[in-house]
């Protein structure tokens, strides 16, 4: 539901970046990392991307989204690493549990809320624009 506005922010920041530092060729793929704490729908984000890029130099580019597991740090025992995920049956999505896998204390989130562009795949010889 907030995918459309995030797609717009993404487009805005990517275009700003491309204006400062142009790439030679047409952008075919935009590689994103999405933290698994986010409720965001990947399908909706891809659909929104197709809509907001229409008529821009990024039209026709594909969003490739890699999910990033949640990483945590435990203030009680010092554990740092992957979060525990709910393993029980009957839960339909991967649910990170913010509890230390080692000692059970409440953990701080280190990674898992991000939505970041990490790379672009560019087709050489075809100019952007």
């Amino acid at each position: 539901m907030h995918e459309y506005s995030l797609a717009l922010s993404l487009l805005e920041s990517l275009r700003t970046r491309l204006a400062e530092d142009p790439v030679r060729g047409r952008v075919k793929k935009v590689h994103l990392r999405q933290g698994e704490l986010l409720v965001l729908s990947r399908d909706a984000l891809r659909e929104a991307w197709a809509l907001v890029t229409e008529g821009t130099e990024l039209a026709g580019s594909e969003l490739v989204i890699e999910m990033v597991p949640v990483r945590v740090k435990c203030p009680a025992c010092g554990y740092g690493g992957d979060a525990k995920y709910l393993a029980a049956e009957g839960w339909h999505v991967r649910v990170p549990v913010l509890s230390c896998p080692r000692c059970g204390a409440r953990v701080d989130i280190v990674e898992g809320r991000d939505l970041a562009v990490v790379a672009l795949t560019v087709e050489e010889g075809v100019e952007t624009g």
Binding site: L38, V39, A116, V118
Partner: protein, 214 residues
């Protein structure tokens, strides 16, 4: 074709930074703020009014922010109850974000407040992705929505400090066992606190205030 690493960063990071600024602003004025998320019609506004009533009896100064897609119904209820209040209409958005809340804070007499309740847009999905800079996050549901709400929206419950199950007076009528919701909540969030309330009749309000640190 070739790949270019760009890594210009996180588009949600700005939201986190703005939330941090809100937290500093509120903290600087000595205001304890609470993000009240929850389902549509779960009783968020009534709950906030009850909490405010009790806190004001203890001599605390309470304000409220009403967040809705459109309209000022909740805002007017806060004002009629005598609370300094601000209204946020998100227009096309399904959640409040730190930027919108920042503007609402500019409209409030923060120096004359001890506590601020920010009522988020009724929605169990999107608000989870947008921290506001509050001290604690609450999620409010009511028994009338069914006993599978935690299973349907696990991520918001996994990240929230307190879950309120409201309208418990209707549990029997609608055939919902609040214990099932509480068990699911403990599974996704072993550190969260679950409180049963009947806000309309004032039940559970003191327990909730104590969970919020009052």
């Amino acid at each position: 074709m070739h790949e270019i690493r760009v890594g210009f960063g996180d588009i949600l990071k700005k939201q986190l930074e703005l939330a941090g600024e809100n937290y500093e602003l509120l903290n600087g004025h000595g205001v304890r703020a609470f993000n009240v998320m929850g389902a549509i019609g779960s009783g968020k506004t009534t709950l906030i009014l009850r909490l405010a009533e009790s806190l004001r009896r203890r001599g605390l100064r309470v304000g409220a922010v009403a967040g809705d897609v459109a309209g000022d119904e909740d805002f007017r209820r806060f004002r009629e109850a005598g609370l300094p209040a601000a209204n946020i209409n998100t227009g096309d958005e399904c959640h409040l974000d730190a930027h919108r809340v920042h503007h609402a804070l500019e409209d409030l007499p923060l120096g004359e407040l001890d506590v601020l309740f920010i009522e988020n847009v009724g929605n169990l999905v999107c608000p989870a992705d947008f921290p506001l800079g509050t001290e604690m996050d609450l999620v409010v549901i009511s028994v009338t929505e069914g006993d599978d709400m935690v299973r349907k929206h696990p991520k918001i419950f996994a990240q929230t400090d307190v879950m309120v199950i409201n309208k418990v007076d209707l549990a029997e009528v609608v055939g919902v066992d609040p214990q099932r919701l509480m068990a699911d909540y403990r599974t996704v969030n072993p550190h969260g606190i679950a409180i049963l309330t009947d806000a309309k009749n004032g039940r559970g309000i003191e327990e909730l205030l104590s969970a919020l640190g009052f």
